[in-house]
Amino acid sequence: MAFTYYIKNGFSNIRQLVTSIANDLTSVATSANGVQYFQHVYGSFSAGSSQLVFPKGTRYPEGNVLIFESKLAVDPMANVNTVTLAGGGTINAAWRLAFVLHDDQTLTVHAGTRLTLPGVEQTDPTLRGNLVFLTNRATDPNLLEFREPAGCMNVSPWSQYDPYKYKIFGNVAAASISTLRTNPAVLPGPNVQIPNEVFISRLSSSGAESAYPMNYSLTMSSRGMVLAVWEDNQEEIPETQLGSGGWGLQSLSSTDLSNVYGNSPVRWFAIQRAVDRETGHVRGGYRLRGNVAYSTGGVLNEKSRCPVFCVFGTSNPNEYRKFVVRENDVLVPSPKRPAAVNTVDSPAILNPLQQQSVTEQGEFVVTFLNNLSTSRFRYGDEMDLIGTVGAEVVGGGTNIEVKVYQDGYTRTYTAVYANRQYGNGMRIMVLTKADYRDEDKNTGLVTSNVSVVLDDIIYPAP
């Protein structure tokens, strides 16, 4: 199956960035080995077009929502178990990814399913593209309120909402209820001035976008994806907001954990179905299902809930979150939990702090994300698309080659930028090559497509 990695540089605004990402997600070009990983299911985007997504002038969410659905190449469960729902729409075992532009500087990213990120499968066109919001679960209608959408990749809850305005029923004239229901403009939104409420905030770069160009790294594999976005020169971006006096000593010397590192020059998320910690086989793939393909009854053999894990982070140690995008029998995203702190029924899966990674032999240890669990079960699996390492032992952009699991080949993991100023703290390593052949070695262009063909090691076609 396929494995594709892109790294692209120089995007000065979010429209350019998301347009390029959308093209990469849905490409079937040679760069993607002729395989399509995601299908576009909602939003003003046409694959292969250079037209920018998110038409100017439109306001969130109308017209500014792009939704993609995982396909078989990135999700072994993608094309199974599609059921038509009474009353319209279909539901399947795939997961979805949505990009939402709130204003020119603010992008949120959402993961979910057809239920929470409805698209073309909805027979009611008015529901397509409407993100499904959570409520505060109040039982008093006068207190029932909308919150943020499920599966939103932010570390602070959306705060731009008016308790009166966004109440679902209470204190609203009966005649207005239907209007409120159908008019998404009154739904809550993020406070665009708070970077932690969104995935990317370019507010600090307003009017100077070209001075802080954005770059992204996109890995798509048979079991999931990783997207990392960062700004140039980020290692020297001050951890605190620059005052009018310029580079102040305070900002250079501050190591206060509560400070937001340069208003998030590095943001990333990974969504993947976990792999077995011994064999590397993906949960949901047929190897863990007794080698029985779905087409021959494999779906019946699948005993696992096959959770899809999503973990994402900013640069602040306390600001890594994780949630379960879906399971086979849970069709909505779980609540977000801290990814770096042990909380109730949710162990930490990564260490984002300055850390010791060097062994006595002078080697350094890269840790895959482990300790995975859902609200019901603990998994001995790992997320192998990213690893974490002490930032100072490897420079940003450096490739390291490792043999893991029972692979018959060497993988390449590429270091992304560190989460602390001056290359300190933790660094994530993104899987960028797996099972390359000799003829693929020369395709590793820095700025574009590093494409490799992955033989049937991790996940076979059904």
């Binding site: 140690p317 770096a340 162990p347 850390q355 240890v365 079960f377």
Partner: protein, 914 residues
């Protein structure tokens, strides 16, 4: 008293591949559980007994603070050193008991406060006691006493032995006098004053104008008439003639003319108004006066000072002073004519001299010029028995033995025969060593030696395929092991004997310190921190202030002990003339809170007051507030110098909400020690002095310990109280700590299970006290101290009550359950999921191990962590680890959250046999 309810059989950690016959000789492993203790002191006593019996720990030294002689003032500190490798009598695990010191002979002549020194010629002892109570009768024997100093008495023998009667005598006085007849003088070296008929400097009594005889310089031969009506015939004699004195008392001293002179003990009565025998005819006269007389008392023994005595002088041993009389003797008249114009009348004054007259219990033979000592006499006590109770306050220094630490100093070489050679690998058989109690094990890094074989200094690089054959017996366990030796191809023929040993000593030590019946602290470190004298090393900051105790488990001891008040800040300074101002003043009804300044208005110390010094607010004899000087406020005013008079800012973490009494003053000084706060359950190891108080019967203690060839585990809990009642202990705002434990282990390879004995070979300590979880490195190959957290360490924690993560400061500590800089969290102590989809549950060893220098892929396999609700306390959990053929058995212990929630640790206990 404690009772053993369960005593697990010795079990084997090493896989048994063929047969379990004679399995016990392969055992690398023992676990013991006991329950029913009312005090932590009894519990740790039995644990130490177990540990020494199992050859896990050796007791380096024990010091016991003796409290039974005076519960109110436990002053004594009395080390009793045990011989190395002493195996205690199994029938008497009472080695932490106080000696019972009973008074054997009360003696005589003591006073409260007398410091008595052990006085046995030739005895290697300098034990001192202080007399705390004497009999009120004339004999003044000792009724009670306390042991004062830390002598080295009984340093090499078992304290349970016999012959522990010690005789104590009063220390000689620092002043003495020679017998010089009339002249008074001091001997600064020693001894009291004993002078025969020495002159007293006092003047006499005005007798009026009555004429009398001419005064003479001595009373020998004086005839003098005392005025009528004198009240006391002893003080007033109406006539005095030389005929009344014994023969030979001529001249200026009463023994100088016919030396040696024998004084008899008979006292001639003195009768007022009569002549002849009115003066004491026998005894010793002294002029030392009332002030010095207080140091001489009835019952004191009198001795001759060696060296100065006349060769014929002799005082029989045990001679006591039996009577003391003070006598003022009129020795003559002094006439003095009044001044004035014309003839003036003459007044007559008595010339008197004071004498102290001592009567002795036996006849003496002494001479003028002799020096004397005096002291209390006869006090002895017995200490040949020990109390039936365990001591309340003690320190035990132990050292890990090779039984639990391959790199311990007492390891023995392992020998084996070569069975076959395959390249760089050799197969060994007949592996054995000198211990009968457990199986010989070859560890990586061992040096291979054999005189006949060229091993080129090879070391063991890898142990593969350890197999134990079924023919096991005695001390020669027949074990087959494949040992890889890189770079060296052995040419040894089959049957060649090889010796394996380490050429390095990386021993570590544990210290157990009981601060009372219900408070126990445990330390881990090396012989550098825990020396043979039972002192625990302290950790200091740049000011020299003590910030922590080295290697102590649990949280940082919070009670600072300030240096003694002295004129120099090197020893501390009490600043009485200190005024706090701005938002606080030292006066009635004042509250201190927040960031506070204080002003030193007068300062005479030499050393500068520095940031980091502690400021303590004293009031009514108690320390009301402790905080730290943050800085001196600058700019300094005119006349102020840094560290002297001026204003200081104290740390802004001050919270003091009580009123400040008007009598308060401030003390500034270094923290010279720290003590565990018995009110804080997160300090010490087990700290329940407050909670159980006088009712420990409701909270019997249990402990579980496991010894393996790579470490030990020790856990203490109280029945099922932890499950029933600790609802809010997790928030650390209640004084409950039902389960404390520590693990000290050398890590094992995550794939093979081999113990890491090469490289820097770190020893890890994980401990849980008061539901806080810490870790440190006990030692490494080249690091001889336990590690510590940074003062600014913070960690993110999940708050069960608020449902939010929060930053929690953990100064000087490295959390085991949260990530911090350069330290991975290795425990999950919150609610957690352990069940997998296939109805199994996961138990994970502790991994992601780091030292300040390196990261390790190893694991700590002696404990496993899982969710509290998948297994109940005391359940057995069977685990297959490291591809071993035999399952291990882990014992689940208490969960850390209420009602069997949260983390449950399970400890290796056995191997599974159907």
């Amino acid at each position: 008293m404690a009772s053993t309810v369960a005593n697990s059989p010795i079990t084997n950690l090493v896989p048994v591949w063929s047969s379990d016959d004679d399995r016990e000789k392969l055992l690398q492993f023992r676990s013991i559980e006991r329950t029913g203790y009312l005090t932590v002191t009894e519990l740790v006593r039995d644990f130490l007994y177990d540990a020494t019996q199992e050859q896990a720990l050796t007791i380096v030294n024990v010091s016991i603070v003796e409290t039974h002689l005076s519960n109110a003032n436990a002053k004594s500190y009395f080390p009793e050193r045990f011989q190395q490798n002493t195996v205690l009598d199994p029938t008497q695990p009472k080695f932490l008991s106080q000696r019972i010191r009973t008074i054997n002979t009360a003696g005589a002549g003591y006073q409260v406060g007398d410091i008595l020194t052990h006085f046995v010629t030739g005895a290697n002892a300098n034990v001192q006691v202080v007399v705390t109570e004497v009999d009120t009768d004339n004999v003044k024997g000792v009724k009670s006493f306390e042991v004062l100093n830390s002598g080295t008495y009984n340093t090499t023998v078992n304290p349970l032995g016999t012959n522990k009667r010690l005789e104590f005598r009063r220390r000689v006085n620092t002043k003495a006098a020679m017998v010089k007849g009339q002249d008074f003088s001091y001997d600064n070296n020693s001894g009291n004053i004993f002078i025969f008929q020495s002159r007293h400097s006092g003047n006499g009594y005005v007798s009026g104008t009555q004429a009398g005889p001419t005064p003479v310089p001595a009373f020998n031969g004086v005839v003098y008439t005392t005025p009528a009506g004198a009240p006391d015939p002893l003080y007033w004699s109406d006539s005095f003639t030389s005929t009344s004195m014994p023969a030979g008392r001529g001249g200026t001293a009463n023994v100088n003319s016919t030396s040696p002179y024998t004084i008899t003990t008979a006292l001639t009565s003195i009768v007022a108004g009569s002549t002849g025998t009115r003066w004491p005819s026998d005894g010793i006269w002294s002029n030392i006066g009332a002030s010095q007389n207080t140091e001489i008392f009835i019952g004191s023994e009198i001795l001759l000072k060696p060296g100065n005595a006349n060769v014929l002088s002799f005082i029989p041993p045990g001679t006591l002073i039996t009577r003391i009389d003070e006598i003022e003797v009129v020795t003559g008249l002094i006439s003095k004519t009044r001044t004035g114009i014309g003839p003036q009348p003459t007044d007559y004054y008595e010339d008197t001299r004071k004498f102290i007259w001592f009567t002795t219990s036996q006849n003496l033979q002494i001479d003028k010029g002799d020096h004397f000592y005096v002291r209390g006499n006869g006090f002895t006590f017995n200490d040949n028995t020990t109390s039936s109770d365990t001591a309340d306050v003690f320190t035990v220094i132990t050292q890990a033995k090779a039984r639990i630490d391959p790199l311990a100093s007492d390891r023995q070489p392992v020998t084996a025969n070569v069975s076959s050679i395959n390249g760089n690998s050799v197969r060994l058989i007949n592996i054995r060593h000198g211990w009968a109690d457990w199986a010989p094990t070859i560890f990586e890094g061992m040096v291979i030696t054999h005189g006949a074989v060229d091993t080129n200094g090879a070391t063991v690089a890898n142990i593969a395929n350890i197999q134990y054959s079924k023919t096991v017996g005695g001390t020669t366990a027949n074990i087959v092991t494949d040992v890889a030796i890189p770079g060296t191809v052995l040419t040894s023929p089959a049957g060649t004997g090889l010796t394996f040993t380490f050429n390095t000593d990386q021993s570590y030590r544990l210290a157990f310190e009981a601060n009372g019946k219900q408070t126990l602290s445990i330390y881990a470190g090396t012989a550098v921190q825990f020396r043979d004298d039972c002192k625990i090393a302290k950790v200091t900051d740049y000011t020299g202030s003590v910030t922590d105790l080295s290697g102590i488990m649990g949280d940082v001891p919070s009670i600072p002990v300030l240096s003694n008040v002295s004129p120099d800040l090197n020893g501390g300074e009490r600043l009485n003339n200190v005024r706090a101002f701005v938002n606080v003043s030292i006066g009635a009804n004042t509250t201190i809170s927040g960031r506070t300044q204080f002003e030193v208005k007068e300062y005479t110390g030499n050393a500068a007051i520095q940031p980091g010094f502690v400021v303590a607010l004293h009031a009514n004899g108690n320390i009301k507030l402790n905080t730290t000087i943050e800085s001196q406020i600058t700019p300094l005013l005119a006349g102020e110098k840094p560290g002297g008079v001026g204003r200081y800012l104290i740390a802004n973490n001050v919270v003091y909400t009580a009123n400040v009494p008007s009598t308060s003053n401030l003390t500034v000084g270094r923290v010279v020690d720290r003590r565990v706060d018995v009110n804080d359950i997160t300090q010490g190891f087990v700290n329940r002095s407050i909670r159980v108080t006088n009712h420990p019967e409701s909270y019997p203690l249990s402990y579980f310990t496991s010894f393996t060839n790579r470490g030990l585990f020790f856990g203490v809990w109280e029945g099922t109280w932890s499950i029933m009642q600790k609802t809010r202990a997790r928030q650390l705002n209640e004084k409950d700590a039902w389960f404390s434990w520590f693990l000290i282990q050398r890590p094992v390879n995550r794939k093979t299970g081999q113990v890491r004995t090469t490289g820097q070979s770190p020893v890890f300590c994980i401990n849980s006290v008061g539901y806080k979880y810490w870790k440190f490195v006990v030692r490494e190959r080249d690091v001889m101290h336990p590690t510590q957290g940074d003062s600014a360490t913070t960690a993110f924690y999940y708050n069960d009550l608020t449902g939010k993560t929060e930053v929690r400061a953990t100064p000087y500590r490295v959390p085991a359950d949260a990530h911090t800089e350069d330290s991975h969290g290795i425990l999950n102590t919150t609610h957690q999921i352990a069940l997998t989809e296939d109805s199994k549950y996961l138990v994970s060893f502790l991994y992601n191990l780091t030292t300040p220098r390196f990261r390790y892929s190893d694991e700590l396999d002696m404990i496993g962590q899982t969710a509290g609700d998948v297994s109940m306390a005391s359940s057995d959990i069977k685990i297959t680890a490291y591809s071993e053929a035999t399952q291990r058995v882990y014992k689940a212990l208490s969960a850390n959250l209420p009602y069997n929630a949260g983390l449950r640790v399970s400890v290796i206990k056995d191997i599974y046999t159907a």
